[in-house]
Symmetry: C2
C-alpha cells in the first residue's frame, strides 16, 4: 500500500533531502563539516528571522526545551508558563523536574492564550525571570499570539521562551521583530528533515540569564557550545552529520521558494483543509487554528480512534488522533513541510472514504470541492 504521512511531525522528507542525508559520512572535526554547520546555522537564522545566536543539538525537540530550562534558570527562580495543551504541559513537567515551581496559566484545550492574562500575571508577580509558551500547540492546532505576548514580555525583566518546534517554517514567527528571546525548534516538522536535530536561538537579553543560571548542564550547555562554535566552527560533541547534510539541502529548498512563499503556501493549505472539513459538516477544534495542523472534532457516533487507525491501516494515510484526554475526541491532519495542495486532497479524500465506511453520513466529494474552490481563489 502506498503511504502518505499527514502527521504533524515527523513530516515527509523531500527526496532531495533524503539523498543529501545519504551522502558518505564526513568527519565532524573538519573544515568541510564546519562549512555545512555554518550554512545550516545561517539558513536557520533566516527561517527563525533572527540575528541571535543559534545552536544545533543532536536531540529531539524535547531536548531543545530541556536545554532552554537548564540554561536559563536557577533553583527558586519564578517562571510563568502559558499552557495551551500537551506541549505547554511539557514546559510544566520539565521545569518541575528541575526543581522550579512554575506559575501556570492554563487554558482549556483548543483555546489560545490571552495576552492580557500574561500581562496581569507579570504585574501581579514581580521578578518573573522567564515566560514559556508555544507558538503553534500541536496537540490542539491553535496558534498563539506571540507578537502581542512578545510586546508585553519585552517591557519586563522576563525573557520570552517560545517552543516553535511544530511551527517553524510553517507558521509566521519573526523572532527578533516580535521580541522572542529564546526559540526552540526541531528538524522533523516544517524544516522537512528527519527527526534528530534540535535548535535553539538565544537573544542578548536571554544570555544574561544564561550567565547567571545555576541549574546543572553539560550536554546542553549554551556557554560551552558558544565558545566551542566561535573558536572552532564545530559543535562541542559529535554532530549528527547526515542530518546536517539533509538540513543543508532542506534550507536551500526553503530559500529557493522564499520564506514568505513557504508561509503563504502553508496558509493556503490550512485554509483549504479547514474549508474541506467544514463542508463535510465537521467542526474545527481550535479557537484560532494554526497553519501547520488542523484539529477537528470527531463527530458524534464516530469512533475517533478507529477513524485514525482505519485511515492509516486501510488507506495508508497517516494522520494524528487526539492526545491524552482528547484521545478519540479529535483528529489532526497536518499540512506541514513538504506538502502541496494534493496532499490536502489526499487527506480529505481518505477522510471522506473512512467516514462513509464508518457509517457517518456525508456527501462524498463535498470536502474536496470546498478545498478546490479555496485553491482556485
Amino acid at each position: 500500500m502506498k503511504k502518505y504521512l499527514l502527521t504533524p511531525g515527523p513530516t515527509p522528507v523531500p527526496e532531495r533531502v533524503l539523498l543529501a542525508s545519504a551522502q558518505p559520512i564526513i568527519h565532524h572535526r573538519t573544515p568541510e563539516c564546519g562549512q555545512i554547520l555554518s550554512e545550516d546555522i545561517e539558513g536557520l537564522k533566516y527561517v527563525f528571522q533572527t540575528k541571535n545566536d543559534l545552536f544545533i543539538f543532536a536531540a529531539s525537540g524535547t531536548g531543545a526545551m530541556e536545554a532552554c530550562v537548564v540554561n536559563l534558570l536557577s533553583p527558586q527562580d519564578k517562571v510563568l508558563i502559558v499552557n495551551t495543551g500537551a506541549f505547554g504541559r511539557r514546559w510544566v513537567n520539565i521545569t518541575k523536574l528541575f526543581g522550579i515551581e512554575p506559575e501556570v496559566i492554563e487554558y482549556p484545550w483548543g483555546r489560545i492564550a490571552n495576552p492580557k492574562d500574561v500581562e496581569k500575571k507579570l504585574k501581579e508577580i514581580p521578578g518573573i525571570k522567564a515566560v514559556f509558551t508555544q507558538s503553534t500547540e500541536t496537540s490542539t492546532g491553535v496558534v498563539n499570539d506571540i507578537q502581542t505576548i512578545g510586546k508585553i514580555v519585552a517591557k519586563t525583566e522576563a525573557v520570552l521562551v517560545v517552543d516553535a518546534v511544530s511551527g517553524l517554517g510553517g507558521q509566521e514567527l519573526n523572532t527578533d521583530e516580535w521580541n522572542v528571546d529564546v526559540v526552540a525548534g526541531g528538524s522533523q516538522k516544517g524544516l522537512m528533515v528527519p527527526p534528530g536535530l534540535a535548535f535553539v536561538s538565544i537573544s542578548q537579553k536571554a544570555w544574561k540569564l544564561v550567565e547567571n543560571s545555576k541549574l546543572p548542564k553539560f550536554y546542553w550547555d549554551f556557554k560551552a557550545y558558544k565558545k566551542f562554535l566561535e573558536e572552532k566552527k564545530q559543535t562541542p560533541y559529535t554532530s549528527a552529520v547526515s542530518l546536517l547534510l539533509g538540513l543543508q539541502e532542506a534550507l536551500r529548498m526553503i530559500k529557493e521558494e522564499g520564506l514568505e512563499q513557504v508561509l503563504q503556501r502553508h496558509a493556503i493549505l490550512a485554509s483549504a483543509t479547514r474549508k474541506g472539513v467544514e463542508a463535510l459538516g465537521l467542526e474545527l477544534f481550535a479557537e484560532v487554528p494554526c497553519n501547520v495542523v488542523t484539529a477537528v472534532k470527531v463527530p458524534e457516533g464516530v469512533d475517533g480512534v478507529r477513524l485514525v487507525k482505519m485511515m492509516r491501516d486501510e488507506y495508508g494515510v497517516g494522520i494524528a488522533g487526539g492526545q491524552r484526554e482528547y484521545k478519540g475526541k479529535i483528529f489532526r491532519i497536518a499540512h506541514l513541510g513538504y506538502m502541496d495542495r494534493f496532499d490536502v486532497i489526499i487527506g480529505l479524500s481518505a477522510l471522506e472514504i473512512a467516514l462513509s465506511k464508518l457509517g457517518y453520513k456525508i456527501e462524498v466529494g463535498k470536502g474536496i470541492a470546498a478545498a478546490e474552490k479555496e485553491f482556485l481563489k
Copy 2:
C-alpha cells in the same frame, strides 16, 4: 579527490545503511516504527552481549554519558573515575558539573588502568556508588581490562559504568558475563551508522541506584523511558527514525557476519596496522593497544599536525591527530566498523607517502608488506 575516512568515529557508513536511512520517513508512534525499535534494541543487546534493559536516545555518545550520571547518582554520592584519557576526563567533567566531587585515579595517557588500583580505592573509600571508566579510550588507543575490573567491582556495592562508545562492535565487551552494569554506546563507531543515536544498557543492580537517584533529569530519564517503552513499544520523545532504519540494516549486517567474526576481523586489522607502522620504525603509543584505533607516536623531526592535515587534504585520507596535550605528538588510524584489509593498506600507504614527502626517512612499501604478511597468517 576520492575520500577515505579512517577516523575513530564517525566511521564510514555502508551503502546498505545509507540507503536504509534514506527510506521515506515513518511516524514514530506507529506499530511499524515500534517493530523497528524493538529489532534495533534486540540487535544492540546482541552486540552488547546483554539481557539488560537497553535504551536508544536521539543524542551523541556524550548524551549517553550524561544520561548515566544523572540517572544513577544523587548529590554527595561518592564515585570513582578511572581516567585513562580525554574521555575519562569527560566522566570527571560531567560528574563535577552535576555537583559530584569524584574520586579519580588518573593514568598518564597511553597507559591502561590497573585493576589493583581500583580494588585498593574501593577498599579505602567505603560507600562508593559507581565506578566510571572506558572500555577503549579513543584518545590514546588503549583498551582497559574491563573483565578484571568487573570482577572487582561486582564484589562491592558499587556499579560499574563503562563508556564503550568507541569500542562496541569492534572490541570484545561481554556486558553481562563481565559484570558491567551500565554501558554507554553511540551509533557512529563500530555500529556503522551515522552519528545521532546514543545507547545505554542498565543492569538490575544499577536500577537500584536509578530508583534512588536525585539528580534532575527529563530528556534522559531512564524510569520514564522504561515505562513508556514497555507500555507502548515507543520512545518517550520523537525517535531519530531515519537513524533507527539505518541501525536496523547495520545490525543485520553484524548478525550476518556474526559478532565473533566481526571482532576477529577488527583484531586482524588492528594487528596488521600495528605491524605496518612498526615496520616503518614508528612506535605505538598505547601500553595495551585496542582493536579499534591505533595510536602512533609522531617520530622526531616530523610535524604531527602537518602530517594529519597532509594525509587528509592532499591524499584524501582522514585520520585523527592527538587531542589536547598530545596534539602533534601522536596520530591515530582507525580500523573500526565498515572496514577491511584494504582500508588498512590505504591508511599505511598514505602514511608512507606523507612521511616521505615530509622528509622522514622510511623505506616505502615496508609498512604495507608487514601488514600483508599479517593478513597472510
